[in-house]
Amino acid sequence: DVKVTQSSRYLVKRTGEKVFLECVQDMDHENMFWYRQDPGLGLRLIYFSYDVKMKEKGDIPEGYSVSREKKERFSLILESASTNQTSMYLCASSLSVYEQYFGPGTRLTVT
């Protein structure tokens, strides 16, 4: 069965902290994605990766960076967390052009 896991379900951080969100998939998928989800705005793509060490900016990359050193792992980094980055963060993976498989999400609160 397909599985995407995220390191934390809930996270509380202070303004200015460096935050790491980890995502691991066990399906050998080439593509991995990070989204944030806010009420009324749907899912917005932050970054995606189509291969190890390859990344592309999504629609809202400002304030974020990513790392993909191994095929199964895709990390989202908030270099200096701010309150406007309080959100639900969703990781997904996919094979080629087909459906995406999502993790359970990390609800991040920045105070």
Binding site: V4, L90, S94, E99, F102
Partner: protein, 111 residues
Amino acid sequence: SQQGEEDPQALSIQEGENATMNCSYKTSINNLQWYRQNSGRGLVHLILIRSNEREKHSGRLRVTLDTSKKSSSLLITASRAADTASYFCATKRKRNYKLSFGAGTTVTVRA
């Protein structure tokens, strides 16, 4: 940027009734997908319809696609309490890894 927009934003129905929601999009697509999200969880893929298909069924789900109108509909027949969730359409453009999600339709099924 949001490519898809769902309508209505919210829907409340009685158990056993059918639920219909619509999705409109702006540019030409390779495929259109529907996802379900239970409260506070990750998204689950429901069904994918390719741009050359007009209708697709999966269990109690029926999806239509009208590329001339740039619209799709999702019908859930004989709804159950477990169908209470948010439903998102997502479009995939040609030669592009990304999915663009709408803001979703929240469906409440009353017992």
